[in-house]
Every structure is written in structure tokens, then in C-alpha cells.
Amino acid sequence: MSDIPADLKYARSHEWLRQLPDGTVEVGISDHAQESLGDLVFVEVPEVGRTLAAGEAFAVVESVKAASDVYSPVAGTVLAVNSKLATAPELINKAPYGDGWLMKLKPAAGAPPALLSAAEYARVADEG
């Protein structure tokens, strides 16, 4: 069984989103996603300052098995990216919700899209 922290929001495409107290958000991929991908070998993160639409591909995670696009759960501007992933992509395998984060975003104004709760995402992850 994969780990699905209750305090995060999730996208159907297996990203997680953490609301930070300062109004920004942190984004990564779920434990279920890293487990399905297998050992990660390369991670391509976006440029800081890039503007993303909700659902836009912003990163590529490549494992021993396959390459996958990662989609932004919300619209916003990239504030920071996890530069450690360039030399240590395995951080995503080891700590998908911690040291394996992908980017921090300043969400765009307006209503955020509906994301899944942990319980809702658990059902998605169950289906594969």
C-alpha cells in the first residue's frame, strides 16, 4: 500500500499539492507514482519564473522503465525548483512528499481547480 498523507491535495494524474502558510504551494509526485515508475534516473524541472496553466506539463520524470510528464495541479508562477534532483533523482523514490518535491508555485489569482482529497486519491491509486 502506498503512502497518501491526509494533509495534501492530489491530482488524478498522480501529483500532490501542499498549501504553505504564506499562500504558495509545493508540488511533487505521489508515492504511488514513484512506485509505479521504479527507480528514477533523470528529472527535468522547469525554469524559475515560468508561468504554468493548470494541467500543463512542467516536468519530466524518467525512470529505468519509462519517461513521464508531470502536470501542474494549479495555474501559477514557478518560484523555486528542487535543484538537488539533478544529481539525486532518487530523492523522489526515497521521500516523494519531502526531499523529493519538484517545485514551489505562486498560484494564479482566481478559484483553484477542484483537487482530490487523500481518500479520493486513494481510490484513484487503487485503480492503477
Binding site: 521504479g38 527507480d39 533523470f42 527535468e44 529505468v64 519509462a66 519517461a67 523514490n93
Partner: protein, 359 residues
Amino acid sequence: MVDFGGWDMPLNYGSQIEEHHAVRRTAGVFDVSHMCVADTSGARSEEFLRQLLANDVARLTDAGQALYSCMLNPAGGILDDLIVYRRHAGQFRLVVNAGTRDKDLAWMRTAAGPFDVQISERSDLAMLAVQGPQARAQLAALLPAAAADAALALPGFCGTQQGEWFIARTGYTGEDGFEVMLPNGAAVELWRQLNARGVRSCGLGARDTLRLEAGMNLYGSDMTESTHPLESGLGWTIAWDPPQRQFTGRAALEPIRRSGSPRRLVGLVLDERAVMRSHQAVAVPGVGAGEITSGSFSPTMGRSIALARVPAATGATVTVDVRGKPLPARVVKPPFVRHGRVLVPLENQQQGQGAAVHE
């Protein structure tokens, strides 16, 4: 778990990369019981195999010696690749791929008929491959003294029958080690004993990256019935001498041998941070086009490597279409890695030794 030739097999037991490193650095064990083991019986077994196989079993002068060979159709296409061992009393053991089991057994039995040779599948045997620099010592420590001595005395590509166990110094990883064929009922206990000694369980994923680094072909990917050995990096496995030995496929291959194969299988190294995968298109500027037949990430080299079938005139570099991006790859001669050592240049020599390609 994945379906592999009708067998449920684990891709990994945790981390594919750690399993890969264990085999390069210490020792790992693979359950390769899916491989099909078949024994010949009949007075004319050698004569039969000298017609069936592109390599020549007459080269096996002593019991226990092994040979790698292709089994070809009359057009020279590769039906399968296999290992054949000479056993006692003029009999042989063949180990063929799981995915081609039914086809192989039917083909061999039809071909064996005129020689009055029988082919018996040994589904009573399991097979464990113990591989890595410490593999031989690790297995030997679990054997009775006489069997351990016999196993440790084996030269490369030779096997020994020890009671119900057949122990061979062969493998598919580019490391030293043994492949052990033993009664099904004894396999789990041996696996646990090896684990208890620190030999790591390894899955299909590590098996694939290890064999690719070792420059070993995978049947169904790097070669099929529509490709022949001369365009699959396997010319060295064809025994052309003696010229009068009419093995199946010879007549079709002779003209290609004389004129030179228009395509060849090469190794590729990608210095960019991306991974080459099978079926990606390869462009050879001014020459033509080719295709990746196997591509992956090399854990030992920290970058992507591949086997590709390209025009014979391909030079030192090609361009691979990796997810829509044309990336330059260097052409090298496999193997990439053997016995823990990288055998191909890690940096692009044209850029000079000091040019760092990683970021």
C-alpha cells in the same frame, strides 16, 4: 510483477538499480526457471545438432563444455539464441528462451526426426543464476566439499553434474558466476540460503540492464526471425568451418557473408540527460536510418546506452529521436561494461578529455 513468456516474474524486489549494483559489486541471484531446458537422447544427437545450430557442437570436445549459438531458419533468420552443453555419452543439453519455448521445441523435434533423436523438456528442473564478483564463492560455500571443489575448478563456459544439480560457469550479466539447474523442490531453499549469506534477490529489470551493459542481445528485441546473425552482432557465433557442414540457414547467409551485411548492430552512448528506448528512430546523416533495438539507463555508467541496428556505413555519431528531440549519440563497440569495468569512453573524445558532459 510482469508476464514474461507466460511466467509471472518480478521486475524488481525493491530497487532495480540497487540490484544491478549488487551484481556488479558483490553478488545477486536471479530466478531464471522460466528458461526452457531440453535434453537430447539418441546415437546421432551430435550429427543432428551440427545441422540444427549455426555454431558447431563438434567444438565441444569434453563433457561439460558449453557453446552459445543461434538456431536459424532456412532464410538465415534467427529462431532463437541458446546455450548448448555437451553432456555424458554424446548427449547434449539445450537452454532456450521462455518466450520461444513452444516454437523451439516443435522446430527441434521436427528437425530431430530424421536423426532418430528425442528432445525431452526438463520441466522438473528450476534454474538459479548467481552472478557477481563474489557469486562463485557464495554458492560454493553452500555446496558439499566435493561439489564446491568441482564448481570452483570450472573454466568459463563449462558445467559439471553434481548429483541432481548441474552447475555451470555461465550467465547473462557480464560478471562471473554460476547458473545452477536443480530439482524444482530444492530451488527455494537454495534461494533462501543465498539471501541469508547476503546475496541479493534480483528481478527482470536488473537482468535487462546488466545484459545490455554486457552487450548481450535479447531475443525478440535485438534479433528476431526477420533478422540474421550478421546484422545482429553475432557473426562470431557462426562456425563457417568446416565448409561442408550444411547447418540450417547456411545457404542463405553465405552470399551475405561474401557481399557484407548492409546493416549492423552497434552500441550507442547518450551523453545527454535522457534515456534511449527500443524502437526510437536513429538518423545517420548522409547514410540512412536505423532503429534502437534495446535502450535503457546504464546504472554503472550513469547515462543511457542502447543497441541499434544501423546502416553498415554508419560512422562515429548518430542522432536519436528521444521523445521528439533529436539527440546526438556516440557509436561504440559493445560490451559497454564487463567485470565491473566500463569499457567504452565515458566522455565524447571529440570534445577532448576534459569536456564534462554531466551538469
